[in-house]
């Protein structure tokens, strides 16, 4: 249970919606703009997380790495993969203040994907562990996407 005000919860939800919307619209610069300049992003299988195994699927532990992920998707891989549309569905399940306008937020996610031929399937499901800073704009100081889907059903191009 969260005892945060409706205004704060709404600002946190807006941040999450902005994040997933940038991914579902394939806007990688928009994705980067969700992060603070000391931000980090990790996408890791729940199996590794549970066994203290550090290997991730994506490990952007500094802002330069976040910038490089934009380059991977928009420059390195462009034109080599069969593209797909994602739809992220999220539900906030917990939030707490940790000081300095920063909030720890836990959110379930479920991502469907539709490749060019048009059949929709589940890409991955799991939960986000986020630190969100509420300033003039709400930004992610860190985002960790833990995937229940230990065996992903395909290659993954876009961040989760």
């Amino acid at each position: 249970m969260s005892n945060l005000s409706i205004e704060i919860l709404s600002a946190l939800d807006n941040a999450q919606n902005g994040y997933i919307n940038s991914l579902d619209t394939k806007n990688m610069d928009g994705w980067l703009a969700n992060y603070t300049t000391d931000g980090s992003y990790i996408c890791i299988a729940a199996e590794n997380e549970a066994n203290n195994l550090p290997i991730a699927l994506m490990l952007d532990d500094c802002y330069a790495r976040l910038q490089d992920r934009v380059t991977y998707v928009t420059k390195v891989w462009a034109g080599t993969f069969e593209d797909y549309q994602t739809r992220h569905f999220t539900q906030r399940i917990g939030a707490e203040a940790v000081g300095n306008d920063t909030y720890k937020v836990i959110t379930n996610y479920h991502i469907l994907f539709t490749p060019e031929q048009g059949q929709t399937n589940v890409l991955v499901t799991g939960h986000y562990q986020d630190e969100i800073v509420l300033g003039d704009t709400a930004l992610f100081k860190s985002k960790k996407a833990v995937m229940d889907t230990n065996v992903s059903p395909r290659y993954i191009v876009y961040p989760v």
Partner: protein, 395 residues
């Protein structure tokens, strides 16, 4: 009644050694034959590295073909391999993919097995069949052998000893394992590709340089190297290490550094028949445990490792590099992954797949290749063809 031709057990195998009939990539009857003759036949299959099971009681489950396997480090420190099926009525014994156990109890009728696979107790056994003896009902063991910590199993008694079986590819394996195989597990990336297992392995170890824009953008030319194959279908690649230049293309070039010591220099790929690819690129040590999930899917578990002697800085570097360079989301391999799907769909068309680059002969097999020759796959295909008993058409 004449069976329709597409159900004929005979595959028309072309006369030219660089042509492969596409029907072997999707025919269900061919797949069943592969399970029997290859996956359950006289071949060794890597199932774990000792670095994944450091402690007594550590276990791992995986498949060989479609058979579930249990790998356990016993209370005596020895690693044993079993079929992951209860000795009573065959219930899948362990459902977790890994963990630590003191014993294995089958929930169905509560038969209890110890870490060495011995049956410890079966409730109500005073009522069992006249010839029942507890000592006859241990877990079904599967033959195993080890090379530098890599544990192989085989379902056949006829498989040659592992050392002889691996042959020259041991050289490439030794490089990938930093010379001694004293590895520690860093974690896994797991993925299920929509591709027949043979198209997966055709396109995994072998590298298509033109596919990867990253190489060009980083001005990253592969070092000088060689590729060789063995008569029984293994492939080794060994090359000098070339570190990509800092072209300013990546904001964080530390990801591409090589921090290994001189003795660990070199890049290598070992591809063991039928389906396993093991690599060392820069500071990434990677074993790709793989098995078919039916004729049209292949599950791959990318295991990443560090070396027991690494300091903290080296371990952190390996974690960063491994997590961002290889696997289904990796900078230089996501494209490979996306090719697997497309190849599988494309292979449902009539005719043959053709290999061209590096093909010196069309009427016989040879074993030494240049680094980027796709012809390196041909000895594996020849071993495959012979394993399944398909006859080559007359030229």
């Amino acid at each position: 009644m004449n069976a329709p031709e597409k159900y004929s057990p005979l595959v028309r195998w072309p006369a030219k050694v660089n042509e492969i009939p596409k029907e072997v990539f999707f025919r269900e009857d061919v797949y069943q034959l592969e399970l029997e003759n290859i996956f359950y036949g006289p071949e060794w299959h890597p199932v774990a590295h000792t670095g994944e099971l450091p402690n007594k009681g550590d276990f791992k489950t995986i498949n060989v073909g479609e058979r579930p396997i249990l790998v356990v480090r016993g209370d005596d420190g020895d690693i044993r391999t079993f079929y992951n099926a209860c000795a009573h009525r065959g219930n899948l014994l362990e459902t977790r993919v890994s963990g630590n156990a003191v014993e294995f109890e089958c929930p169905y009728h509560r038969w209890l097995f110890d870490l060495r696979g011995e049956l410890r107790g079966a409730p109500g056994d005073d009522d069992f069949s006249p010839s029942y003896r507890k000592e006859d009902f241990g877990l079904p063991a599967i033959r195993s052998a080890e090379f530098m910590g890599l544990i192989f199993v085989t379902c056949s008694d006829e498989t040659p000893e592992l050392d002889e079986y691996l042959g020259r590819v041991k050289d490439a394996l030794a490089i990938t394992f930093n010379g001694d195989g004293r590895l520690k597990l860093l974690g896994y990336q797991k993925v299920l590709y929509d591709v027949n297992w043979k198209a997966y392995v055709d396109n995994d170890g072998y590298h298509a340089p033109l596919l990867h824009a990253a190489f060009k953008l980083l001005d990253w030319q592969g070092g000088k190297g060689e590729q060789y194959s063995t008569k029984n279908g293994h492939i080794g690649f060994e090359s000098e290490l070339k570190v990509p230049k800092d072209t300013g293309f990546l904001k964080d070039p530390t990801l591409l550094q090589f921090k290994g010591t001189a003795s660990s220099k070199g890049s290598a790929i070992a591809s063991t028949f039928p389906i396993t690819v093991i690599t060392k690129h820069m500071d990434m040590i990677n074993i790709r445990f793989a098995f078919p999930r039916g004729v049209g899917q292949t599950e791959v578990h990318y295991g990443y490792y560090c070396h027991e002697d690494d300091d903290d800085e080296m371990v952190q570097h390996r974690i960063r590099q491994s997590s961002n360079m290889l696997g289904p989301t990796g900078l230089v391999s996501m494209e490979d992954a996306s090719i697997f799907h497309r190849i599988h769909v494309g292979n449902h068309t009539p005719g043959n797949v053709t290999f061209q680059k590096g093909v010196k002969h069309e009427d016989r097999i040879w074993y030494d290749f240049k680094q980027n020759d796709e012809a390196g796959n041909l000895p594996r295909w020849e071993h495959y063809r012979q394993s399944l008993g398909f006859n080559r058409e007359e030229a």
